[in-house]
Amino acid sequence: MVDTVFVWRRLVGAQIRSQLQYRLSFALDAFGSFWISFIDFLVVLVIFRNVSRLNEWNVHEVAFLYALSSITFAVTDMLIGQLDQFPQKIRDGNFDILLVRPRGTLFQVIASDFALRRVARVVQGSIVLVYALSTLTIHWTVLRVLVLVVSVPSAIVIFSSIWVVGACIAFWTTDGGEFTNAFTYGGTAMAQYPFDIYATWLRRLLGFVIPLAFVCYFPALYVLGKTDPLGLPRFLEFCSPAVAAVSALVAGLTWRSAVRHYRSAGG
């Protein structure tokens, strides 16, 4: 485990060095990434110019939700976001190379795809979080701090698991990138808003089958001290770490069985 983390750092370090070789390109990418996500947040503000509340949520609370989803998604994207280009590796057969090395394949895919420029989006999310926290009056308790702190790694694990399962589709279809994007990029867009505004079927599918509701919605309810407008059991507000663990397990098993279906490419 320690060794794996060490190797990950070496691999990622090498990529950061090579990405920084092209300074201008890096700066432009980072700048672009920052603005795209900033415009994303402007949409939230535009909505609240027209309505004062979304169901029971005011603009500061939605900003908090937005920030939490944005930061955790951006970190996931930075760590493993290139996984959406993974189908290419399957199609051209370069996945072969990973299979003849003495490391887990998922580890190698993740470690070979670190996009530092996406740090810009983490920065943007953090700015929104600071803004949200400064305008909200939260009665901080130890448990609230704990739920907030634990929710971040849990959300990253949940997002990552969705991404990995999505990438597995490529083993069967040798493509399917767009389908996966609906759940990754689409998923984060959904998680930025309170779940009670969505239709019931959508809430069931994206909230629980694909456990996006545990990314921010439930932890945010607890931290903000709101009662769930949907009237769901309160213990769900503490379930994010457990859901994250189950997601990771499902993702790991799916990956394993997918690798055994790998067919390589001719030549």
Binding site: V7, R10, L11, A14, Q21, V100, Q108, S264
Partner: protein
């Protein structure tokens, strides 16, 4: 070192745009062979014969549909990681080096991936730097290397963890004569000096003739030859060609034990089996000779004959 028994691989292919029909394509159809430690084995076959598929099953990339494989005592698809420490692999058409990094950095990353201690890594690398003359471009990013330089880098990458067994899939593809020779010299050296077992697929029969002491030929998923090169020549290439120059153009000669293949002015090509001197004396009786020459069949010709069967 390698034991293969009744190995099969089938692919399910779906054809058709609307009514997707299921077809089973058999890429490798029940082959068996064994390779001993220290062999340098050539694996030959036309495109689509199942060469690469076999290599991919031996290295643990593909899971066989049926049959049994043991490589270095391990079942590749189940013990992939354990096996990876003991084998090296190089695929001429895939890139395992890091595209944007200098060659030296790629090697350093591989050292960590394979958990090679730093001092052993240094000794191994020093050796390959010398044999493959890497020093001139060790600090150049891989994307700027010529194909020949990159292949030398790839070979080093495959051998840095000192594997007992090296798989090469078309290692000399696209290389010029000098670069090819360098790769061949390298393979002979690691085979002789370090006792590394080498199995290589190639379309370049020069590779086979200069390197290999044994040859496997696969066609349509089945092994059609397993043995030495001289035996192969004897079996499939028993016929030699006698090229004669006559004093003047003549109709094809009728000589017992030989068949005229081609006539070009005063020159004729006669295919024959058995003793060259007997045929020559018979030809000399039938016509006045100016010059003559006996041609041995080359391996390319033999392989063409095997594929054409």
């Amino acid at each position: 070192m390698i034991e293969v028994e009744g190995l099969r691989k089938e692919f399910v292919v779906r054809r058709g745009r609307f009514r997707r029909e299921r077809h089973v394509v058999t890429a490798v159809n029940g082959i068996s062979f064994r390779v001993d430690r220290g062999e340098l084995l050539g694996y030959l076959g036309p495109n689509g014969a199942g060469k690469s598929t076999t290599i991919k099953m031996l290295t643990g990339i593909l899971v066989p549909t049926g049959g049994h494989i043991s490589v270095a005592g391990l079942e590749p698809s189940r013990k992939r990681i354990e096996l990876a420490h003991r084998i090296g692999a190089m695929f001429g058409q895939r890139i395992q080096l890091w595209w944007d990094l200098p060659l030296r950095d790629s090697f350093e990353l591989l050292r960590h991936i394979y958990r090679v201690p730093a001092d052993r890594h240094r000794t191994n690398l020093a050796r390959f730097r010398e044999v493959l003359e890497l020093d001139a471009f060790l600090d150049t990013p891989v994307r700027q290397l010529s194909l020949g330089q990159r292949i030398r880098g790839e070979l080093t990458a495959a051998m840095l963890h000192a594997p007992e067994l090296l798989f090469l899939d078309e290692p000399t593809i696209g290389l010029d004569v000098v670069a090819k020779q360098r790769v061949r010299d390298f393979l002979v050296e690691i085979n002789r000096e370090d006792g590394v077992t080498v199995m290589l697929t190639t379309h370049d029969l020069g590779d086979i003739e200069r390197l290999c002491n044994r040859l496997l030929v696969i066609d349509h998923g089945s092994l059609i030859w397993d043995g030495g090169i001289p035996e192969l020549k004897e079996r499939y290439g028993g016929e030699r060609t006698l090229v004669i120059d006559l004093e003047e153009p003549a109709p094809p000669l009728v000589v017992e034990g030989a068949v005229v293949d081609r006539v070009d002015g005063p020159r004729q090509w006669l295919r024959f089996k058995g003793s060259a001197s007997e045929i020559t004396s018979r030809v000399a009786e039938a016509a006045r000779l100016v010059d003559l020459q006996v041609q041995e069949p080359d391996i390319e010709e033999i392989v063409r004959r095997i594929y054409m069967r």
